[in-house]
Assembly symmetry: C2
Homo-oligomer: 603 residues x 2
């Protein structure tokens, strides 16, 4: 696939490369004396010179050979003695929105860690704005050296008929995106039940992608690794990042799937299967690495693909094998190995210099032969992206939230208590239990019960104005006093508010409505913390470091309000995610995620 991720296609600069290799013309850049990680032979080649011109590798000086003949007066020479040169790292599956920033800012955060390519699925923006927002993400990405390979979201909405999203994406839409020059694959086909049931739109999206000579990335968390997995693979889905055990990984590899081994901010899968994978000795050519979701603080505090490599090596994986997973394997899967994934002649000069293959501390990152980051700092900068209006005005509630908004009627119930259906949170897990609890009834309304940690929850359709609907529910497990609200609420990203009193809930909702979305913590009439995410209610326009600090402040506010669970923001963010068991609340009401039927608040 000849996408526009390189400075120029090989055939436009091959004459120059031929000359440079033979010493007939000076190189633009020569990296000298590096320990080159050869991902094609699985070797470390000591004291290697690398000559680069027009953004591509022209020559490797191996063994007794040097690139001295490629050096002219204007050649930039980098002494890499003692350092390890690797191909630029690639994240095979990532939702940029989880970091609450756009792709350009993401690039600033990850390129200094050695990431030169990401395969991103703007699934969240897709749910809020549809394809136009997806395209804006792509346009933002073009402004930075990071290569942002795009995989348009396939499942918008993720589950049909149980919630209202801002948009939907059809097979015809997907056919359109295949003509975009940076689209390399279909985004994760989460709708595996649809594929198994031969649902028209799911199969249509797969068809349009395969016919455009691109790959279909997957998402298959089902325990049925026999008939269902076979059918899913036979349908044309060729990768998956949803594996929890070595048995799952192995089953997928045996069926010819590429398996994206995942270590994100919240989903820490590597320890669950990597040691066994290493011990098994199976071929890992179909293994890729991915983060899926990174929170801003992970990027700021821990890094990106370097962090995953560190973990993989700590878990016993050979570092060169780990690097293959983050480079050549990924490039081969997506059909880009002619341009990327190895430091060999003719390939784009996407090269990282690391101190060692244990800490993976990056000294320099080159993309297309340009030095783009050094010692932890990006050397490029871009102005904040001018997001289009339709992306910065997505809080379309159609009303002004007041305490009265949050009154939950208790039809037929007299004052006292009533049994209501509630979501039972399991701290640190994405599962919710479908339970029944008692709550007070006063003046014909159901109340929260702070003493027993039963909070009221409301979800408002924020996409359809006054035509939108909302629904109420209850939740246990957060243990807070006050109210929390957020618009990062998978997958419809509606306005989600929870609290122990209507006044704080109204203030929380009103605050987000005014700032265009985000995350807010309120107690006793005071806004304790606010993370503004005015772009689609998902992304900030600020620096990742600023966003990370605001999120940290929000976390501190939550603790102050009484919440001690890990990642409460994430846990709250999937309270509407109607494809994960057992009970979820959307703007249409409770969804039983085992039967996929709606359930009443009053059982």
């Amino acid at each position: 696939m000849r996408n526009r991720f390189c400075k120029s296609p090989l055939w436009e600069c091959s004459e120059e490369l031929i000359q440079v290799a033979q010493g007939e013309r000076p190189a633009e850049l020569v990296i000298r004396h590096a320990n080159l990680v050869s991902v094609t032979t699985h070797e470390i080649l000591p004291d290697t010179d690398i000559a680069v011109s027009c953004g591509r590798v022209a020559y490797l000086g191996l063994g007794e050979h040097t690139a001295e003949h490629c050096i002219g007066p204007d050649t930039k020479v980098v002494d890499a003695r003692g350092l390890y040169a690797t191909p630029g790292l690639m994240d095979s599956h990532i939702h940029v929105e989880s970091a609450m920033i756009g792709v350009a800012e993401y690039a600033r955060a990850v390129v200094p860690h050695g990431t030169t390519g990401i395969f991103c699925d703007p699934h969240e923006v897709g749910n809020v704005t549809g394809l136009p927002g997806v395209r804006a993400m792509f346009e933002d990405a073009r402004r930075v050296p990071l290569k942002a390979m795009m995989t348009p979201p396939s499942c918008v909405p993720a589950v049909h008929g149980v919630e209202d999203t801002g948009a939907s994406i059809t097979a015809e839409d997907i056919a359109d995106t295949m003509a975009w020059d940076n689209v390399v694959a279909l985004g994760e086909m989460m709708n595996f039940p649809g594929v198994l049931a031969r649902e028209g739109n799911a199969l249509g999206e797969i068809r349009e992608t395969l016919a455009a000579d691109r790959v279909v990335t997957g998402h298959f968390p089902s325990p049925d690794r026999d008939r269902a997995l076979n059918a899913y693979v036979a349908a044309g889905v060729s990768s998956c990042h949803e594996s929890g055990s070595f048995d799952e990984v192995l089953a997928k590899l045996r069926l010819g799937m590429y398996v994206q081994l995942r270590q994100g901010s919240a989903w820490l899968n590597l320890p669950g299967y990597l040691p066994q994978l290493v011990a098994s000795g199976v071929d890992t050519r179909l293994c890729l690495l991915c983060s899926d979701d990174n929170h801003p603080h992970t990027l700021v505090d821990e890094g990106h693909m370097d962090r995953i490599l560190r973990t993989a090596v700590e878990l016993g994986l050979d570092p060169v094998t780990a690097l293959q997973m983050a480079t050549i394997n990924c490039a081969q899967y997506f059909g880009l190995a002619h341009d990327m994934g190895s430091v060999t002649p003719g390939k784009c000069a996407d090269i990282v210099l690391y101190d060692d293959l244990e800490s993976f501390r990056a000294r320099m990152t080159f993309i297309d032969g340009e030095l783009v980051a050094e010692d932890g700092r990006a050397l490029f900068d871009v102005a904040p992206y001018e997001w289009p209006d339709f992306m910065t005005h997505t809080m379309n509630l159609g009303f002004e939230p007041t305490p009265e908004t949050f009154r939950v009627p208790a039809p037929g119930r007299s004052d006292g208590t009533a049994r209501v259906r509630a979501m039972g949170i399991e701290p640190g897990d994405t599962i919710t239990r479908n339970i029944v609890v008692e709550v007070p009834v006063r003046d014909g309304a159901l109340l929260a019960d702070r003493e027993h940690d039963v909070l009221k929850v409301a979800v408002f359709d924020r996409h359809h104005g006054s035509a939108g609907t909302h629904a109420f529910g209850f939740v246990t497990g957060f243990g807070i006093h006050g109210a929390l609200a957020q618009t990062v609420s998978h997958d419809a990203h509606n306005l989600l508010v929870m609290g122990d009193n209507d006044e704080d809930m109204a203030l929380a909702a009103k605050t987000l409505a005014e700032c265009g979305g985000g995350e807010v913590a309120v107690a006793d009439g005071q806004v304790l913390a606010l993370v503004e995410l005015p772009v689609c209610g998902l992304m900030s326009t600020e620096r990742v470091e600023v966003v990370a600090e605001k999120v940290a402040a929000a976390r501190r506010a939550w603790e102050q309000m009484g919440c001690s669970m890990p990642s409460p923001f994430m846990t709250m963010g999937v309270m509407s995610l109607a494809c994960v068991p057992e009970l979820r609340l959307t703007n249409r009401g409770y969804v039983n995620c085992l039967t996929f039927e709606m359930e009443d608040l009053l059982p």
Copy 2:
């Protein structure tokens, strides 16, 4: 790349596959209880069931799972207990013409051995007829189940300015072929000096191929594995089958080239590097297998890719690794791994059942789920191809050969002897020495000298009729009495005649002129053996077994005439090959293949 090598594209049959995998619809074929060679994980999976529908794998029953749910009343069930199921074998580089038959007949010969795909470069036909003949080869190929992936010849003529071929192929021609639906790559770019010198047509052919999203296959026998090899790779050439040592193989792999390990009829390279490759432990994902040239008797007596696998395993290569080289590695290189190269759901059901992974004796070969060969016999048959006239009338000498035709004038030399330049044959090698010998002069003409084993040689342009030229030379090393002639004469495939007397030479030439080309042995006015190759003077219209027997008869005739060298036919066939050192004779005269200058007969 979505070429037409499968029964139907995946997206047209995915609904059926989904149903079969889930037991909602019976499969067409179920192979039961096989030891499946998993080339994706490098494992042998015992007692595996394989369900096939619409030509593709629908389901693998692994471990405790079976494909019983896929079996209906009309399902063909094959019990493969005790057998090894492997993906169909692929020959990554082959000139079909060397077997003196067309592709359809080639298919009959190789499919029973487990070959299901070949990547063929009709370089010889290209030199005789240009693109129209190449296209006819492709049309012939379509009639059989063997998947013939085409790589149009890039170097026609191979060396410019030293001989006259029947045609030439330009970068514009190559651009045209890239629209043909069975073209997957550019044929071997033998003109590596042209690439290094940035010659326009060579770079143009590479450009057209890369821009069409196809790969450029190579041919790099130069000992310069530093600057020249780097430049050649940087130019976009991504594979090579010309390696004689492990150092060469390793150098190419480190530069990111796919290396086609070769074991043909005459070029037996595996022993020269495979044991060291195994010992090195380097990653072999870029290693492919190829035969390059197979003579008819090799196919009949020894087999095809099975023969190479046997040799590889004998030399110490792990059989699963060897199978990866003949399957998934090859498919990945050519961008066809979505359809071929592994037995996994969604892929074409190109499957071979072998007795074991040592003898590689094939029991059954399936292509697109059809049983196409069993116990050594092809189950398909096609009529002889109706070759177009321009391919069966390529003997265009423009004159009738007589003894007088072979008179070599000795200007200025009086009767007695004269010193002449001659080719010194090294038995069993392709190299010729550039030597000077003494020959008799009688009546102003230079004569052969049977006593001292100096034969006369003549090369006639057979493509341009009366406008064609011819040239004379001498050769030592064959030791025959009589005359030999052939039109298989790389790369122009002109009429090559050698002998110790003009009468027999004239009869040999006349015999080939009359039958449309081939190979003939004459002594004392008698035709001792004749292999008619009326298609381009290169290929027979008969069965491969018949051709093999005729070639064997010719070999016996040569021995009878006094020649004891191995493969004399091959040695003679490269006597005009102007890209191999040191001295060659073409229709334009002697070519010094070290300086690429013409040399006089009389020094």
